[in-house]
Symmetry: C2
Subunit: 134 residues, 2 copies
DNA sequence: TTATAAGTGATAATCATTCTCGTTTATGAT
DNA sequence: ATCATAAACGAGAATGATTATCACTTATAA
């Protein structure tokens, strides 16, 4: 992969904005700095960066992919009620990391190498769950 | 929700074909029985049936949604290597159901009501994992 | 039987993403 | 340094899944 100003800009935007943006959002942000940049370039580079493991793609939301510049493996949560997408808090991250270990150890041989952190957790968030039966 | 021949046909197709088909596939299948049926009708009814809890939507694959007429809560697996999408075997289903219990009991209060079975497990399947490091 | 609201089908529209292709640019070798 | 070349770019067209529109049909309850 060769150096390019555009790719660097896109990567920086993702590193500096921990908000799981869409390609569209990144495109607009990139234009502010580099008005001539094209949409295709943004999509092309997002794909390349995902491929290279520099960023992460979050699919399965509502048809629009989102991206995450956070290097560390971590878990995402989508609230089915309010629709919010967010990183779990550290405590939950640790909790799930431990579970993942257990799953790796005890899961039947049928499916090997399940990676929970590539999945999107779906449920009901704290705010939305007040008074709601579980 | 009112009775309609079209909706019934679509539901039957899903019940009789445990293959996680796309809307397109269901449309083609439906035409064989009812040549005049329209695409919009298929999408409209798939949405309605998901909404009504009669069927399940599987998102986050490769941009195309898939549908599942299986009533029972169960887990799906997508192999990142061969791309196959399938129901886990009964043994794995049970294993994951137990884990889900554990998660419900021990998960921090931040996110309540996480439903593992609405997620798509991603990893490497048995066939693809032969000789591959985990 | 009839009123009416839900469902249908054809087709146009939407919208995220990819493709094409002629031009530009980073980079390794001379 | 400059050159060759393959990678990357930008504009705009194309794709493809899904949804919206709207006039017409049909299930259902009074």
């Amino acid at each position: 992969m060769r150096y390019s100003k555009q790719r660097n800009l896109i990567l920086n935007i993702l590193r500096e904005n921990p908000v799981h943006p869409t390609a569209e959002w990144i495109f607009e942000k990139a234009r502010e700095e580099m008005p001539g940049i094209g949409v295709a370039t943004v999509y092309r580079n997002l794909n390349a960066l995902v491929e290279a493991g520099e960023i992460e793609r979050i699919s399965g939301l509502d048809g629009v992919d989102r991206f995450d510049g956070n290097h560390m493996p971590h878990y995402h949560m989508k609230c089915n009620t309010c629709g919010r997408l967010y990183d779990l808090e550290p405590e939950s991250q640790e909790s799930l990391a431990r579970m993942e270990e257990v799953i790796r150890e005890t899961f039947p041989t049928e499916a090997v190498g399940i990676k929970l952190n590539t999945m999107l957790l779906k449920g009901t968030c704290k705010q939305c769950s007040c008074g709601e039966p579980m």
